[in-house]
Amino acid sequence: MIQKKICMLGAFAVGKTSLVSRYVKSIFSDKYHSTVGVKVDKKLVVVGDEQIDLLLWDLYGEDEFQKIRETYLRGSSGYVLVADGTRRETLDKAVVLHSRAQETVGKVPFVLMINKADLADKWEIQSEAVTDLGGGGWPAFKTSAKTGEGVEEAFLALARKMVGG
């Protein structure tokens, strides 16, 4: 059993909390978000024949009023960037958070979840915008907290990268 600390980063209201509450194990209430600014949850993934406990530090969504605490990023083996497919600016925020994370924890594995895949007709983010990110090297997943689409795959991809690296 391997444990890894993972941070969940994203702009305000991109659906991080919904992802967490439906697809991972949680024992703490959401009020920690607004008070401490982080909530720790757990997601079990299996890579090969190894079980990996991802300790998800779900950081409170960043907006103009609140910055994420970089202290929380410390010691992360990887992170998840979450954007909202229906709001273009959340992808920009994800890019900002990405560079912030790299400053703090270095070049560790990460994945991008573009959430709300179930609202495809309202999407503002074009596929090109995603494939261009970071010179085309960003592992991006269309996810839906509602249908579960892409969620498991994204976590699994991140876990693979961490164990492999």
């Binding site: 949680s26 720790v40 083996s77």
Partner: protein
């Protein structure tokens, strides 16, 4: 000494080949003796045999010195010793068994004694608490909070208890190891570990004491969380109650030891907590607890009295068992008595009895004329519902049953008693003539007897008729000399006679007997026989006429006998008066 060795080494293998030969010679001259020593020392150092010899001289003392200083030697020897013992047990179990044998017995005894003492103590505590006012309060609390009662008791009697210890990797907040006291409420430790780290980070960030980690202790409701921080790992202990300050030292020691033991593991930690399992024991030593001293002191002061709750419960139990045994024994005795009395009953044969399915049962044969067992059970003070009887009908030949059957068969009246003498039914008492005759007719068919003897039965009808006969026959109607006229005074006697004859007639017809009443007229001895005869007949006819129509079943006849059958011998006038009369003669058929 190091300095002295170096030149020696140089001499053996000249480090500077270009050295002046003179200098070499001089050195050889000056240091010849030392060189020999050095060579010897070198040889000793190179020879493992002699080095071992050397160490063997100082080893015991070295061990003693180090053991006094700290526990590191023990810790480092532990794995080797454990392994050696393991191998020894596998290879030569006999050696270890022989060695341990003398201590094993006492050790086992001690362990059992301690376990029993603890059990008694905890039982005592539970009982003492269970029956006290405080106990009820705690029960209420348990009910209110949904916690098990045992947990509430534990929480309330403990001064403090370390319930959980987390060993947390400082940088990542990942859990390295986690131990908990039995019964402590435990959430997912890895998440708690992360959140605990986040909160510490938050406090550290918010209140500025960056780097130091800040939060060393905080209180959540009834729980204290003490955090002991090392350079790479953090120990967090969750404590219920009021821990003493000294407890902090235990945690400090533990985190220090873990850093010593796992320096490499902590530095290279990449998410695999397996190596830290080795330190589980160190963490478990942190799970300390202390009970309420007041409770203990009071318990000691109470001395024998502390066993009072247990003794009390035992006494109640003993009383309950005693009562149960007593009632059971009494019930069994009653049942046995009941069975015996049943068996003694004519017409009842008990074939089996006992207890089955929590009830008494009795089985057998019963003549329908025998006593009813159910009321007998009630009479024996047994609950009839607790006794199940199953009876098969049969025909008994017990004399009382034979008598009862004959009595039913003959419809014998109460006034007749029956008994069996051999094969003869003997009847006694009195009965109406008609029953007597009917019984005689039926006597051949009476069940289970061959003959019938009713000589002891008197005819009640005949006795009644006899009494009436005597009454009628004692009546007299008197006449004046030479007269056949009824005097006014005699009419009363005639009315009486008439009534009695009526009764006689009724009784006779009830008994099915004809009755004849002769009205007999007389005269005294004075006068001629013919006159007297005629006069006496007239007198009789006169009385018969006065009696009127005779009642049904009675035949009346008037006859005159003159002076031929005087009632009394005539000596005086009074005697003669007696004979101038009419009397009655009742004629009944002879009984039987």
């Amino acid at each position: 000494m190091g300095d002295a060795v170096k030149p020696g080494n140089g001499g053996e293998a000249p480090p500077v080949p270009a050295e002046d030969p003179l200098l070499v010679e001089l050195r050889g001259l000056l240091l010849a003796a030392e060189k020999k020593d050095v060579t010897q020392i070198q040889e000793r150092l190179d020879d493992p045999q002699s080095r071992a010899e050397d160490i063997s001289h100082v080893l015991p003392e070295a061990i003693a010195i180090r053991s006094r200083r700290d526990r590191d030697l023990t810790d480092s020897l532990l794995p080797a010793v454990e392994e050696a013992i393991g191998i020894s047990v596998r290879r030569h179990p006999d050696v270890l068994v022989d060695g341990l044998f003398p201590v094993m017995g006492p050790a086992i005894r001690k362990s059992i004694t301690n376990t029993l003492a603890e059990m008694l103590e905890s039982l005592n505590q539970t009982l003492a608490i269970g029956f006290s006012k405080q106990g009820l309060k705690w029960r209420l609390e348990a009910w209110r909070t949904g916690k098990p009662f045992a947990q509430v008791v534990l929480l309330r009697t403990l001064l403090y208890r370390v319930e959980q210890v987390f060993l947390i990797h400082r940088e990542t907040g990942l859990l390295l190891c986690h131990v908990s006291a039995p019964g402590a409420a435990v959430q997912d430790a890895s998440m708690v570990s992360g959140m605990l780290t986040a909160i510490r980070d938050f406090v550290g960030d918010s209140f500025g004491s960056a780097g130091a980690g800040g939060l060393d202790a905080f209180r959540v409701g009834e729980l204290d969380v003490w955090v002991e921080q090392g350079p790479r790992a953090v120990l967090a202990a969750v404590i219920r109650g009021t821990p003493p300050k000294e407890l902090r030292a235990v945690f400090t020691e533990a985190i220090e030891k873990i850093h010593r033991d796992h320096a490499g593991d902590l530095e290279e930690f990449a998410g695999d907590a397996a190596p830290f399992e080795r330190s589980r024991g160190v963490l478990e030593e942190c799970l300390k607890s202390q009970k309420q001293p007041a409770e203990e002191k009071a318990a000691r002061r109470r001395g024998l009295r502390r066993y009072a709750p247990v003794l009390g419960v035992f006494a109640v139990l003993a009383a309950a068992i005693g009562f149960w045994v007593f009632t059971t024994v009494r019930r069994n005795e009653r049942f046995e008595r009941y069975v015996r009395s049943l068996a003694a009953q004519p017409g009842i044969v008990v074939t089996a009895s006992g207890r089955r399915g929590g009830k008494f049962f009795v089985e057998g044969l019963r003549d329908p004329l025998a006593a009813d067992p159910a009321p007998m059970a009630a009479a024996a003070k047994l609950d009839p519902k607790e006794v199940v009887g199953s009876w098969k009908p049969y025909r008994a030949l017990d004399p009382p049953i034979v008598v009862a059957r004959a009595r039913t068969f003959l419809s014998a009246p109460e006034s007749v008693s029956l008994r069996v003498d051999g094969a003869t039914l003997v009847a006694a008492g009195s009965a109406p003539a008609r029953w007597i005759q009917e019984s005689r007719r039926l006597s051949r068919s009476i069940p289970d007897v061959s003959s019938y003897d009713d000589r002891g039965v008197s005819d009640t009808d005949h006795a009644g008729l006899d009494r009436l006969r005597k009454a009628v026959e004692s009546r007299r109607v008197f006449f004046a000399r030479g007269s056949s006229e009824l005097a006014a005074a005699e009419s009363e006697r005639i009315a009486q006679a008439s009534r009695e004859i009526g009764e006689l007639g009724q009784a006779a017809s009830a008994a099915g007997m004809p009755v004849r009443v002769e009205v007999v007229g007389r005269g005294d001895s004075e006068g001629t026989t013919d006159v007297n005869l005629s006069l006496s007949r007239k007198r009789a006819e006169k009385v018969q006429a006065a009696l009127g129509v005779p009642p049904a079943g009675v035949a009346l006849a008037a006859t005159g006998v003159g002076a031929s059958q005087p009632l009394v011998e005539e000596k005086t006038d009074q005697d003669r008066q007696v004979n101038r009369s009419v009397s009655f003669r009742v004629i009944l058929p002879e009984p039987k």
